[in-house]
Amino acid sequence: MRALLSGSALRDLGRLGLFTAKRLGALLVTVLIGVYLTIVIANMGGKVDELRMVQIRSEVAEQVRADPAFQDLSAEERQRLMERQVQLEVERLRLDEPFFWRSLDYLRQAMLLDLGRAEQMHSDAGSRQVYNIIAERLPATLVLFGTGNLLVFFVSVYAALGLSRRYGSALDRAVIGLAPSSAAPGWFYGIFLILLLAFIAPLFPSGGMVAAPPPESAWAYAASLARHMALPLAAIFISQIFISIYSWRTFFLIHSSEDYVEMARAKGLPERLIERRYILRPSLSPIVTSFLLMLIGLWSGAIILEQVFNWPGLGTLLFEAIGQRDTPVIIGSVVIFAYLLAATVFLLDILYAILDPRVRLDRERS
């Protein structure tokens, strides 16, 4: 009997292992495709190489012209020297090989998180490692968009629950009426907020992350950060809150018309318990999905909003990288995003099984 039991447990474990391996394999392929597409696009399918050649030629020419050691060379010798220098640079960057083979090489490096060196950009500390550049900008983005999105998420879920209870009330209709306000993006409200609260009534700074020079003590630094965050945070909040409440409200309305909710009400359970155990609990899977996707969505920041508020985050970084065609920086941030996304999807698969008993059974049956 015991042998039989452990046999079935082993089989279960094996099945779980197989399932996990399959999921991981599928996710890896997804990341691979996404990263490769980014490499091809960021290099414009090899077109960037031509631009790079032009750049190399002009740089080499400039170097040779400016170097006093080469002043007394004849024009012909100088030309040969230049050609040789260019040739060396081309070989160093392996521009003489076909783009396709190099792209596979880039892919391998990217997948191994070897993000390489930036072509033009560098971190404020002076590093040209893409990793250092990104790591330097990440906290700024996370603190602003993390606070903003968490605020929007929890406020809207809580408000939506209350609103779904007051279906059709004046408050409910007001929120529905205000939902289209989210058609305008955060930066749009940001511009008005800057105009109103930074220029007409100068209560808050119009941009930046902390006062310059940054305050010494941690408390003063936090206070300065909070003052600088107020306007962008308000912009994020205003632009998202109503549509978010509206959609969660509709979500809860659908889930609160289930038969088992009516049954719970007939059972005389208190309204709070019904909300917790009969509305929130069964609908937790989509809520958690939305929450986690929102969290990794923070990674990329918002390019224009960061520009408007001069916020030194990843959005600004990406904007600069695209402007300067700094492919390693672009690819680097996409690779990290792709891995984060894949990890989140994998985590969600596990969470579904924990949150919803029906998922467990389906898996065992298949």
Binding site: Y167, G168, S257, E258, D259, Y260, E262, M263, A264, R265, A266, K267, G268, L269, P270, L273, R277, Y278, R281, P282, L284, L355, D356, P357, R358, L361
Partner: protein, 325 residues
């Protein structure tokens, strides 16, 4: 009259707001129920019988207007009770509900045993362990193996789910159990098994049932009394014996003639026509349009006329003393 009946419904009205107008789903329903009695509310789909159940427990959809009329439990008016008092004093303490087929009546992410025990924890202040023990007893009573307490609803068959919902209704020992089409989505054998459980519970527990169904055959098995509904009204309320042997309302008669029987040579007779819209019900008798016996007076709305001991008929044929034997 002696003690007040256990449940007394008088002139109950319930309407829904819809895009096309106000639907009067329940329009002046009266009904009495005594202790340990089973009343069957019989009627076609859309006649308002489920709305009646919802009005009794006040689990109305959002587009419903507040029900009007009187509902008395042991003589005490409950329809006007404030929501919180109604929840504490009536729901599951006095009246419990068994919903249809239990398909979706159970929370999919909470173990069945926990859901059955829940009313005890809320209304009787039982500890978790006490509640679980009583839930196990209730499971045994309706014929579910004890280890099913630990299962989730999707791990139970339709019949088992229906039994679990029944156990949930019995666990707090309410006076009245309202059963809304408890067997309609089940196969015949399971239906019979559930009906047997109901009969046994009624005998052993002395509980009263309000059974809502469209199934004449099933209802005849357990009914002490029958209330036949048509277009939002009770057209005949009678003892089961009187109703099944000598129905008085033309609709009752035609309904009984439409049911196939084992030892009856003639084929069942369907009722021609369809029920009127509840958006604009006819001014007079609501069945008049389909009634072969209609006469001039049917253009006026008939009251519920007494026809003997606890027997009332909403039909002018029975108006003048002894219109019919």
């Amino acid at each position: 009259m002696a003690a007040a009946p256990l449940l007394e419904i008088d002139d109950l009205r319930l309407a829904y707001a819809t895009e096309r107008g106000t639907v009067r789903a329940v329009d002046g329903v009266g009904l009495t129920l005594r202790r340990n009695e089973a009343v069957v509310i019989l009627g076609e789909s859309g006649c308002g019988k489920s709305s009646l159940a919802k009005a009794l427990l006040r689990t109305l959809p959002r587009n419903a207007y507040a029900p009007e009329g009187r509902v008395r439990l042991d003589g005490a008016e409950v329809l006007g009770l404030p929501e919180e008092r109604f929840r504490r004093q009536v729901r599951w303490v006095r009246i419990a509900l068994v919903m249809q087929a239990a398909m979706n009546a159970l929370n999919p992410v909470v173990r069945v045993g926990e859901q059955v025990a829940e009313p005890l924890r809320i209304h009787r202040g039982c500890s978790r362990r006490q509640a679980a023990a009583r839930a196990a007893e209730a499971f045994a009573e309706v014929g579910i193996p004890g280890d099913f307490l630990q299962r989730y609803p999707h791990e139970l068959s339709g019949g088992m789910r229906q039994r679990a919902v029944l156990a949930m209704a019995l666990v707090t020992e309410p006076d009245i159990v309202v059963l809304d089409e408890p067997t309609s989505a089940l196969d015949v054998l399971t239906q019979a098994a559930i009906m047997n459980v109901l009969k046994r519970i009624k005998r052993d527990r002395g509980v009263s049932f309000v059974l809502i169904t469209h199934d004449v055959a099933t209802s005849s098995e357990i009914a002490d009394r029958v209330a036949l509904m048509y277009a939002g009204q009770v057209v005949e309320e009678a003892s089961a014996e009187a109703f099944f042997t000598a129905p008085a309302h033309p609709y009752s008669q035609m309904l009984m003639a439409s049911v196939p029987r084992l030892h009856q040579p003639e084929p069942p007779q369907p009722i021609p026509g369809r029920p009127p819209s509840l958006l604009e019900p006819p001014a007079g008798c609501r069945f008049a349009e389909r009634c072969p016996q209609r006469f001039d007076r049917c253009s006026e709305p008939p009251p519920a006329l007494p026809l003997g001991e606890r027997h009332r008929v909403r039909c002018w044929l029975h108006a003048t003393g002894g219109g019919r034997p």
